[in-house]
């Protein structure tokens, strides 16, 4: 994409499209662009409904319940019913809210997520090879830069509600977002170094030629996965929303579909981050490591892996307790970030000195990390500020371990 007009810098037609569709109609945008965007938006809306149903089912089964059952077969129509409820619900606004900012904040949270969907490499489907809405060669920068805009929407929602819990929640949200952005960027740097490219399509191709990055960069994968979970502010990392203490955080005053848009953004982000993790670390649309079975069905392989990761994210949500703010910050700054730097150095070793020194280094690092983790588990940590909680100790941290 080097010779187009300035207006079309982002808008070159995808190469896999048949001829008629890619003729520009309005200012460089072709029919295919509009169809693609329309299909994507609808995909997100319907997939999110499915995902919410799935999440409630997963939650149910983890907690020895059966989840929604009554609306439709196995409760499958529960989500559409909920959406209808949200759409018809009254749109309330506090009297002291800043009306303009309050109204636009939900969109500013959803739009960045939607924009990030444009770079997902979906894989092939039949004659269409390698479907990407925007095969953007700076995709790795893009997928950090655009979601960062969400922070503005969150702050606007929290502030304009005129509610101290909302403001507190948005403060926590943004602190978390900014802290976890760093480990995420560092883990992406490892990928970029190993793939020698910032393009997601190229990253997938390199993985198909060599090995999935989850095996070459296990540390990077774990960091990316945890950091993306934190950026979504889902349960192990949900002190920003924390229904049980600050009753919904930045979204406390929202109701009806405005509230729905925030949760649309959150659930869309779950799919987005799982899909990005698949593209970055799990070979994208490749069937198995080193095995390109039926690339015509690439979309299905891609979806299968993405769904697996989505269930893992949901599993984490209903298994792990919420992290305290100091644990959250410690995890980002003292664990993930240093580990990310080690991962980056290892990736550089791979590029400079080849596979063997890299493998030895990676093995040593993993052993070291395991030892550190063990040492950390057995250490009882005081709560900052001297507050004594009634029972926070893990079973292994009895008074005998205090030393």
């Amino acid at each position: 994409m080097s010779t187009e007009t300035p207006a079309a810098a982002l808008l070159d037609p995808p190469s896999w499209m048949p001829g008629v569709l890619i003729a520009p109609i309005i200012g460089g945008f072709s029919l295919a662009d509009f169809l693609g965007l329309f299909a994507l938006l609808n995909f997100i809306l319907f997939f999110v409904m499915f995902e919410i149903w799935l999440e409630r089912k997963v939650a149910g089964h983890i907690q020895l319940r059966r989840g929604p059952l009554h609306v439709g077969p196995h409760g499958a129509l529960q989500s559409p019913a909920d959406v209808l409820k949200l759409l018809t619900k009254e749109d309330l606004m506090p009297a002291i809210a800043d009306r303009r900012i309050f109204r636009i904040a939900p969109y500013l949270v959803f739009v960045p997520v939607f924009l990030t969907f444009l770079i997902i490499p979906w894989g092939g489907l039949g004659p269409l090879q390698n479907i990407v809405l925007r095969p953007f060669d700076l995709a790795l920068v893009y997928l950090v830069a655009i979601p960062a805009l969400q922070a503005i929407g969150i702050v606007m929602a929290g502030w304009s509600s005129g509610n101290k819990y909302a403001l507190l929640g948005s403060a926590r949200f943004v602190a978390q977002l900014i802290s976890y952005e760093l480990p995420m960027v560092v883990s992406l740097l490892g990928v970029a170094v190993m793939a020698e490219s910032l393009s997601l399509t190229r990253v997938v191709d390199v993985q198909r030629e060599t090995l999935w990055f989850i095996f070459l960069q296990p540390i990077g994968f774990v960091i990316f996965f945890i950091a993306s979970m934190a950026e979504m502010s889902r349960t192990p990392f949900d002190i920003a929303i924390a229904e049980s203490e600050i009753v919904g955080g930045p979204f406390i005053e929202y109701s009806g579909m405005r509230w729905g848009i925030f949760f649309l953004a959150e659930f869309a982000a779950v799919f987005l981050n799982a899909a990005l993790a698949v593209a970055l670390f799990m070979g994208g649309w490749q069937f198995l490591p080193g095995l390109d079975l039926l690339p015509e069905l690439g979309v299905f392989w891609f979806f299968g892996k993405t769904m697996t990761l989505i269930v893992v994210i949901q599993w984490a949500r209903f298994t792990l307790p919420r992290l305290r703010i100091d644990q959250l910050m410690d995890l980002a700054w003292k664990a993930l970030l240093p580990a990310g730097f080690v991962n980056l150095i290892l990736s550089a070793v791979y590029q400079m000195y080849g596979f063997l020194p890299f493998a030895i280094g990676l093995g040593l690092t993993l052993v070291g990390l395991a030892l550190l983790l063990l040492a950390y588990r057995n250490q009882r940590r005081p709560i900052p500020g001297g507050i004594q909680l009634v029972s926070v100790a893990r079973p292994s941290a009895e008074p005998a371990a205090m030393g």
């Binding site: 994409m1 080097s2 010779t3 007009t5 300035p6 207006a7 079309a8 810098a9 982002l10 200012g27 460089g28 800043d98 900012i101 060669d137 700076l138 920068v141 893009y142 950090v144 830069a145 655009i146 979601p147 960062a148 805009l149 969400q150 922070a151 503005i152 702050v155 606007m156 929290g158 502030w159 403001l167 403060a171 943004v174 900014i178 952005e181 910032l198 100091d326 910050m329 005081p382 900052p384 500020g385 001297g386």
Partner: protein, 178 residues
Amino acid sequence: MELGAVAFYAVAGASLVAALGVVITRHVVYSALLLILSLSLTGLVYLLLLADFLALVQILIYGGTVSVLLLFALMLTRPEDGAVLNHRGWPLAAVGALLLLGALLFGVLTTDWTGATPGPAAPPSRVSVEELGEALYSTWAVPFEVASLVLLVALLGALQIARSTDAPAGGRGEGADR
């Protein structure tokens, strides 16, 4: 007019209007939000000029991160309604702003822009991120390292400030380790 030019003037104009709004509006949070809008639109201008890496970095740093911290500082210190935001030092600030404007205008007017204007005669070439990286790590390696050093010093300074105010309130002297 060519479509690219229309888009450029529309976005650049919107950015200027937003920038004007920053100083005109009476509401300090609105002015911060307009600042974010203006900076993000500047990122869009970079995009239209085919500097897409710069555009993304602009959006990442000024759109999503730095200005959010600014916004926070403002929102947590909510001024009373109708508070006058004028500072007594405003004449001095006006002189400083005029001087800066003069310097910028001088720079703009004395630069030879031929060959840099977008148009059919000389289409701007897109600088790839590889070229950018090469330049940063070879020709401009020393300024690049100096910039990183400046950031490191700023980081340590911020840590020091956070520490010294945290220690008395931390209780049991624990504020000192974070």
